[in-house]
Symmetry: C2
Subunit: 336 residues, 2 copies
């Protein structure tokens, strides 16, 4: 990161607070972090934790003289914040955000921020069961992806500033168009959030909940973990990305219906194939990481090809055949 006099953080929850801690830990020379939040209490806690140097009374106060402005407040408050900070931004200021959806924020930036400031949207793919400054952690972003969605007018140096911020926090920058980002996170992040809340709701809403609760183990806890996230964040995600969320929710319900048919039919080989496929594919992903994505050209073809052809497939088919063989032996009464 180039040397800056002031970094402003607006919003000091889990993400804003963690970012403050990460920046302060990096010990940048001649840099001060000014922060503000909705409540005095949060601002004071952030200062006590060492996430900020200067406790600003308002967003306008925080951004005055700042070279880098990080808006880390709930998505739907970002519009108000842009309106509030626009008159105060100094020439050359870089404005970024950390919101879970990027399309709306990009449009608000274009509409409201002055021409002498550059907007470079951001989204660190990190979270935790609990929200708020109390859960802040300088290592929150370590090893995570950090989506960077620059406005078309942003200078290269402004983009590099945000890249530097992501790298300082230990994250891996990943360039993406704002609307493209929104369609992807609907699948990988917003759908899991919705189904996690729906799963908890259906279990809790049952007359058998006292018994179900006794039996809940790590599996139920993990699959419902996202239900404990900030309801405000869920609200803003669902309202700013509803078309994409509904699209993926419908695809997910179709997939559940496919699984339903497999279970209802009860054909042994189809059942084992269905679950073995998910298991082997997930293990491959967890071990080998995401398939390669060559930025710019023929991304999907190249990466899907890696996954679907060549050595990985024979490995996959071999594993699946082994599992099916074990099940057949077992059906024939062979135990070893």
């Amino acid at each position: 990161v180039e040397i800056m006099e002031r970094i402003a953080i607006i919003g000091l929850g889990l993400i804003g607070g963690s970012l403050g801690l990460a920046i302060k830990r990096a010990g940048l020379k001649d840099v001060q972090v000014a922060g503000t939040a909705r409540t005095r209490d949060t601002i004071q806690k952030a200062k006590k934790l060492g996430a900020i140097d200067i406790d600003a009374r308002s967003a306008a106060d925080a951004v005055r003289g700042a070279r880098l402005v990080i808006v880390a407040s709930p998505i739907m408050t970002t519009r108000h914040i842009f309106e509030e900070i626009a008159p105060e931004l100094m020439p050359g200021a870089v404005v970024t955000d950390v919101g879970s959806t990027k399309g709306n924020v990009a449009r608000w930036a274009k509409e409201l921020l002055p021409g002498h400031a550059d907007f470079v949207g951001g989204h660190p793919m990190a979270g935790k069961e609990h929200a708020g400054i109390a859960a802040a952690d300088a290592d929150l972003f370590k090893g995570r992806a950090w989506v960077i969605a620059p406005s078309v007018t942003a200078a290269e140096s402004s983009v590099q500033t945000v890249v530097g911020l992501a790298q300082l926090a230990g994250a891996t920058p990943l360039f993406m168009d704002a609307d493209e980002h929104d369609s992807y996170v609907a699948a990988i992040s917003h759908l899991p959030l919705l189904l996690s809340s729906a799963l908890f709701s259906v279990a809790f809403g049952s007359a058998a909940w006292p018994e179900l609760a006794q039996l809940a183990s790590s599996g139920f806890r993990d699959t419902t973990r996202l239900a404990s996230g900030s309801p405000e964040m869920a609200h803003d995600i669902m309202l700013t990305n509803s078309a994409n969320v509904l699209h993926w929710l419908d695809r997910f319900i179709e997939e559940l219906q496919r699984f339903r048919a497999v279970v209802a039919e009860g054909e042994s080989k189809r059942v084992i194939e269905t679950f073995a496929k998910a298991q082997i594919e997930r293990d491959t992903f967890m071990t080998a990481g995401p398939p390669q994505r060559e930025s710019g050209e023929a991304i999907e073809t190249v990466s899907l090809g890696d996954m679907l052809l060549g050595s990985k497939v024979s490995g996959y088919m071999k594993k699946q055949q082994e599992i099916i063989k074990t099940m057949e032996d077992r059906a024939n009464g062979k135990r070893r």
Copy 2:
């Protein structure tokens, strides 16, 4: 646990192996653990890890002279194992199992085991992302529920033996009828497994998977963790508990449709209420634990009453009102 000469463990995967380690760690006087599994390799690994003392060549060999027999093999192999061990069980032998479904196993025990042995079904509510002896862990059952579903003919002392086993492993015994158990775990364990596999499948099956995979964070990993479990276990669960699984899957799909309507309608207050309800209820559950369940009489009424009436409700409504207030302030442009 009373003193026993031999404990037999049939099946040395994650559960059988972990149980062997827990028993051995307890250092029971004059007790030997005999174990067997489908492959020589697994048996040798279990011995090397110290999960068993005696490597038996077959289930019949393992149970000869055993006072307690633990069947820890996949559910659908249990029938074969009962057939194999029935002629070898000594008078007074206690047979238990650890299967994820209990109705079928109870019926097989009644049909196949001799009258001079007692069957007491069991189900420790514990698991891990990875299956197999390599993942075995003496602490796997610590603090978990362990369902005990005795056959109607089992002697009190036989039931106590299995209670002792659960307690030795650090688990909390929980008495339950076998069929009742199966209906509960369909909701709390088998439905999460199914939706976890379906979620991974729908993301992986998308043409955008290379991009989605790059963006996958802890939320996606946690909600799909169960997809990495043993496909054989999933197969046996789905085939031995299909009616209950389908019932809960249908209720879950209805709940998803309810969430879908809330998102599609996009009415701010309803969206925040829906997600805040799940968040507050889950946090209450995670902090305060399951609602009290008074065994025997009026279980549902008493426990549901604890949850839905009295002090917990006013706490709940207060929290929900606070969240809604924050959202209203925010809509009116107040930031603190």
